[in-house]
């Protein structure tokens, strides 16, 4: 089943104003650079973006923020982004902050057809307001859990290391993060990969995202892969 498209422009052709999309990445690590660029160029507006972070001012989702293409961010952590903070505090940008594990599990729920899940994260905090609270026993302890609903984004966009025309994806190191979950949750899922390999080259035992979850795939060129916090040990060994 050949899911290869030419490029990012073709892959995102039908992402329209006011849609809900989910994007892989943690900080700037593993973000779908090419599709974000194409969304900036296409200038779609009013997007709801589900993504753990919101990029930095001039890279990642920050580029969409700069152009005010995002109506609402659904994230767990949005620091390191001055334009974001400005838009949020001024009320231009709607922000739904969600515990990171809840975000991950609501995406998993979307991919696995579980309409809702229970998690203890946020019980007793403002996150719990208006949510169903229920007691369960787990690991020998009774405690309270919140009912949280599955994410079902219209489009999901992820970046992987390698992929094939069947849509199978392999991620590299912590560039994996939310991407396999986001890939599963999308009604339409777009994957950009550093290397598109012939079918049969990827080891079937080592696929992180099976092709059934991926609808369009293309090879991106010249990834910048910017590092947010370059921390190193001294060179003397």
């Amino acid at each position: 089943m050949n899911k290869v498209v030419k490029n990012a422009e073709e892959a995102i052709r039908d992402i329209a104003d006011n849609m809900t999309i989910a994007l892989g990445g943690f900080g700037l690590c593993g973000i779908p650079e090419k599709c974000i660029e194409a969304l900036v160029k296409k200038d779609v507006k009013g997007l709801t973006c589900i993504s753990n972070n919101a990029g930095v001012d001039d890279f990642g989702l920050g580029m969409l923020l700069q152009k005010k293409q995002i109506r609402k961010m659904v994230s767990s952590y949005v620091g390191e982004n001055a334009e974001f903070e400005r838009q949020m505090l001024s009320g231009e940008l709607e922000v739904d902050l969600i515990p990171q594990g809840t975000l991950a599990t609501r995406l998993l729920a979307g991919g696995y057809g579980m309409p809702a899940i229970y998690t203890p994260a946020g019980v007793g905090t403002e996150i719990a307001e208006g949510k169903e609270v229920r007691k369960f026993k787990f690991n020998g302890m009774e405690k309270e859990y919140l009912l949280e609903h599955a994410f079902e984004p219209a489009f999901s966009i992820v970046k992987a290391w390698k992929g094939d025309s069947a849509g199978n994806l392999v991620y590299r190191l912590t560039a994996r993060n939310f991407s396999p979950l986001i890939a599963m949750a999308g009604k339409v899922t777009i994957a950009e990969v550093e290397e598109l390999v012939p079918d049969g080259e990827l080891d079937p035992d080592q696929i992180h995202t099976p092709g059934i979850f991926v609808h369009r795939i293309f090879e991106g060129k010249d990834y910048e892969k910017r590092i947010e916090q370059r921390t190193v040990s001294p060179k003397n060994a």
């Binding site: 690590c29 620091g79 594990g101 787990f138 590299r172 994996r176």
Partner: protein, 218 residues
């Protein structure tokens, strides 16, 4: 008074052989530097690492390999990488033995606030709400008082909560404190050169002081 390295060093003594440990951003990250020799510990980073190693040697940084603080890191032999659902799955299922994280405020009943200052700072909770709600064993690394000299160990938190009744142990520049089930800070250890009165003064919440308060060995 301890500096932040002293706090990290004191916390490192809480780590036991065979533990899986999640270290938060800031002082908790420093704890890794002070884990005693002969103690075999695996560090978890909630963006999807078990077996996280030190920062890479200059020139070997890999943009695809970062920790939850977005810092470039390395992997140790026997490490593994996984997605965020599994990462928080193992946290939620209490496979991670110990969580060490920072706080803006802790209350005498173990509530913690560390993610939001309404109208001023809203960075988000990241994984902190999951970690405090799930972990069986949490140590808070924090300053006893804020920059204006006000206590951060309170009767009730004033900031939006991250989790309720979840903190059991706190290490500050002045003391090691345990949160007692009935709702008070138990003064377990004093930092070298810090008096019980100084600690009493710096603690707004109920402080329970035993007859003898040992000075901590760091």
């Amino acid at each position: 008074m301890l500096d932040k390295h002293g706090i990290a060093r004191r916390i490192a003594r809480e780590i036991k052989d065979g533990m899986y440990v999640n270290l938060g951003i800031g002082i908790p990250t420093l704890v890794a530097n002070y884990i005693p020799d002969g103690i075999d510990v695996v560090l978890q980073s909630e963006n999807g690492i078990l077996g996280m190693g030190p920062f890479p040697v200059e020139g070997t940084e890999d943009a695809d390999l970062i920790n939850a603080g977005k810092q470039t890191v390395t992997l140790l032999p026997g490490s593994s990488i996984f997605d965020s659902a599994m990462s928080f799955g193992m946290i939620r299922a209490q496979k991670v033995d110990l969580t060490i994280l920072g706080a803006m405020e802790v209350s005498e009943n173990g509530d913690i606030a560390n993610w939001k200052i309404p109208g001023k700072m809203v960075k988000g909770m990241g994984g902190a709400m999951d970690l405090v709600a799930c972990a069986r064993n949490i140590i808070v690394a924090m300053q006893h008082v804020n920059k204006r000299g006000e206590s951060k160990l309170l009767t009730e938190c004033t900031l939006p909560l991250t989790g309720v009744r979840c903190i059991k142990k706190i290490v500050t520049e002045m003391a090691v404190l345990e949160v007692l089930p009935e709702g008070s800070f138990f003064l377990a250890e004093r930092a070298p050169g810090v008096s019980v009165d100084q600690i009493r003064e710096a603690t707004a919440g109920k402080l329970k002081v035993p007859d003898e308060v040992p000075e901590m060995t760091v």
